[in-house]
């Protein structure tokens, strides 16, 4: 897993000239790194993360994931690495509230086309791994913030990704839960998974192996 960006730019439509969120960002992330992206609000951290995670397209520049220039690929081809190689953890969890936690975890497996029994087994295993054994049937609204984020992490791990993208994963959590989640991310990194985390929190950032500081759409 390697990530290579050079001169990435992103301009949001709207207004006369649009609004530039990224103004030429270049960096490289190697396999197994734990990178924290920090910076004030509106500096383009989340935009960068979305582009890395193939959720958004850059307006200019080059981005290669594992040596592939992914933005030349079709939507279908791009959905595959998003599903199989990348796991997302969001600030507001983004769980589907109508589904139980086990169904939420099973979703990526379902899109990958795994069969029913295997899907169920794997989802159960993942929930146990994040410490939610016995809460498989609960829907997100019945869980605490920390628990929801753990479901989200279990979901992110469903297809054994090599890269976890976390966008302010502790932003909506109390300090105790934050600690747990952070612990979990560090643990995953220790298993060899590359982690890129966007955060405001200097303390959390300090635990990452490398910090990318952003300001006004550029790396400092």
């Amino acid at each position: 897993m390697s990530i290579n960006c050079s001169e990435l730019t992103k301009v949001y439509e709207g207004g006369k000239a649009g609004w530039p969120a990224l103004r030429g960002v270049s960096f490289e992330i190697k396999m197994g790194e734990f990178v924290a992206v920090t910076g004030p609000s509106g500096c383009g951290k989340s935009t960068l993360l979305n582009i890395i995670g193939l959720l958004d397209e850059p307006s200019g520049g080059q981005y290669s994931l594992n040596g592939r220039d992914v933005f030349t690929l079709s939507d279908l081809e791009r959905s595959c690495p998003r599903r199989d190689e990348i796991g997302f953890v969001f600030q507001s969890f983004h769980l589907l509230n109508r589904l139980s936690s086990i169904e939420n975890v099973a979703l990526p497996l379902m899109y990958a086309g795994a069969d029913r029994a295997a899907t169920c087994e794997r989802a159960r295993l993942l929930l146990r791994r994040v410490g939610l054994h016995g809460k498989e049937k609960k829907i997100p609204l019945e869980l605490s913030g920390g628990e929801r984020q753990r479901v989200a992490i279990a979901r992110a791990l469903a297809n054994s990704p090599k890269l976890i993208l976390a966008d302010e994963p502790t932003g909506n959590l109390d300090s105790a839960s934050s600690k747990e989640i952070m612990q979990m991310l560090v643990g995953l990194n220790a298993e060899g998974i590359t982690v890129i985390m966007v955060t405001h929190d200097k303390e959390l950032a300090a635990r990452a192996g490398r910090n990318l500081r952003m300001r006004d759409g550029r790396l400092e």
Binding site: L54, L55, L76, C80, R82, D115
Partner: protein, 431 residues
């Protein structure tokens, strides 16, 4: 396949989670389904009746009657048109001995029949013995008119006894009361044994030599007009001319059965020739044949079928737009969910499939609901209107459900495409 199954599962969850919205969509499509089934059934019923009619009456039938639609540019130009008299019928019979039936019919209306203290309105019809060769839907007591009666202009008659009317409904009953001027005659024949009795018609005494009893409605072949003609009193056509029931200015209708369908065209040509030689050029008479009448009727019923079908289509269109609206609303209400699904690996195709499957499920369930409704409500309403249940065949609801699902599919394509086109990052940001 698995993807579709998953989409179906999600669809069920969604439909169940938004019961009100789903029910409204069901109803929208169900309305279309109901109209469609009804129109299907109506068309099919007409078609079947015509087919049966074709079988019963055969193709070799035709009818000569006076052409009433001739026009004259001024009253001064009017010359009374030639009429078919009994002589003409006899000549036609002589020229075409091979025909199975040449039956003249002369009608007189509003005759007064007196029997004992009864005094009733009825109608007379002048015929020859050939009349019995038409589709004979009677049982006879006594005897029918014979050639001796005709040649000697005897004052004999045959009365027609009506069968019990078909299952009545209020509407029909009130109409019968209003327009059935000869109800008294029917009562008289029904409740008195008239055979051998003398009756007085418009001052002339006739002897009743036979009574024809109509078959019950269920056993009678439908005629082309849907019900049999209203015969009351049959008498020799010559007698009616002789006693001035029929005037010299009145033209007889002639029903002809050529006996075989093969040389039908030939016979038609012969008849037209005969009329031309006898009465000269000019469209004084029209020769209708049943085949053409049936064809015309089929064409007419197809026309009305198209109208009904297009009504059904319109209803489906309305339902489809309803589904499109609902699906669009769903897409916007679930934008964030679309973002989430995309983030965890759903492709555009997956998203599109999900919304289309959901809409098709709405259509399917609505179609089934509508078919059931169409079947159930069709029964009491039609009985009330006295239409008789239309035959709903098993394939009609199937076709209707299929069309409902297909409509939903077509109308879901655009919303699903909108959903699939959302950028994951934008969708995730949606509130």
């Amino acid at each position: 396949m698995r993807a579709i199954l998953n989409a179906v599962k999600t669809g069920f969850t969604e439909i169940w989670a938004h019961k009100m919205r789903s029910v409204l969509s069901f109803l929208a499509i169900a309305a279309g389904s109901v109209v469609f089934i009804e129109s299907f059934a109506a068309i099919f019923a007409t078609y079947e009746r015509l087919e049966k009619q074709k079988e019963v009456s055969g193709m070799a039938r035709m009818k000569i009657s006076q052409n009433y639609s001739q026009t004259y540019s001024s009253p001064d130009e009017y010359v009374p048109p030639p009429v078919i008299g009994y002589e003409d019928v006899v000549r036609l019979r002589e020229k075409m001995p091979g025909f199975y039936m040449v039956s003249p019919e002369g009608r007189d209306w509003r005759n007064v029949l007196e029997y004992g203290e009864h005094r009733l309105t009825t109608s007379l019809m002048g015929v020859t013995p050939e009349w019995v060769k038409r589709d004979f839907v009677y049982t006879l007591r006594g005897r029918f008119l014979d050639w001796h009666d005709v040649e000697n202009k005897l004052r004999v008659c045959v009365l027609v006894k009506k069968a019990a009317p078909p299952p009545e409904n209020t509407f029909n009953k009130s109409m019968m009361k209003k327009y059935n001027f000869t109800g008294g005659f029917d009562m008289l024949v029904a409740h008195n044994d008239m055979l051998g009795k003398a009756v007085n018609i418009d001052g002339f005494t006739f002897t009743v030599i036979g009574v024809l009893e109509e078959l019950p409605y269920s056993k009678r072949p439908n005629t082309i007009t849907g019900s049999s003609q209203d015969y009351k009193v049959l008498a020799p056509v010559t007698t009616l001319f002789h006693y001035n029931f029929l005037g010299a200015y009145q033209s007889l209708d002639i029903s002809i059965d050529t006996g075989s369908e093969q040389n039908f065209e030939e016979s038609l040509r012969k008849i037209n020739n005969f009329l031309k030689i006898r009465f000269g050029d000019g469209d004084f008479f029209i020769v209708e044949n049943q085949l053409e009448m049936i064809r015309e009727r089929i064409a007419a019923s197809m026309k009305s079928a198209l109208v009904t079908i297009s009504l059904g289509m319109l209803a489906f269109l309305a339902g489809g737009i309803g589904i499109m609206n609902v699906t669009l609303a769903t897409v916007f209400a679930r934008t964030r969910e679309i973002g989430v699904r995309r983030a965890i690996g759903a492709s555009r195709r997956d998203i599109m499939l999900q919304f289309i499957v959901e809409a098709v499920m709405l259509g399917l369930i609505g179609g089934v609901l509508g078919s059931a409704l169409g079947y159930l409500w069709g029964v009491p309403i039609k009985v009330m209107l006295g239409m008789g249940g239309s035959p709903i065949k098993i394939w009609m609801p199937l076709v209707s459900v299929f069309i409902a699902a297909f409509t939903a599919f077509v109308f879901a394509i655009y919303p699903a495409w909108v959903a699939a086109g959302l950028k994951p990052a934008d969708a995730l940001r949606a509130e």
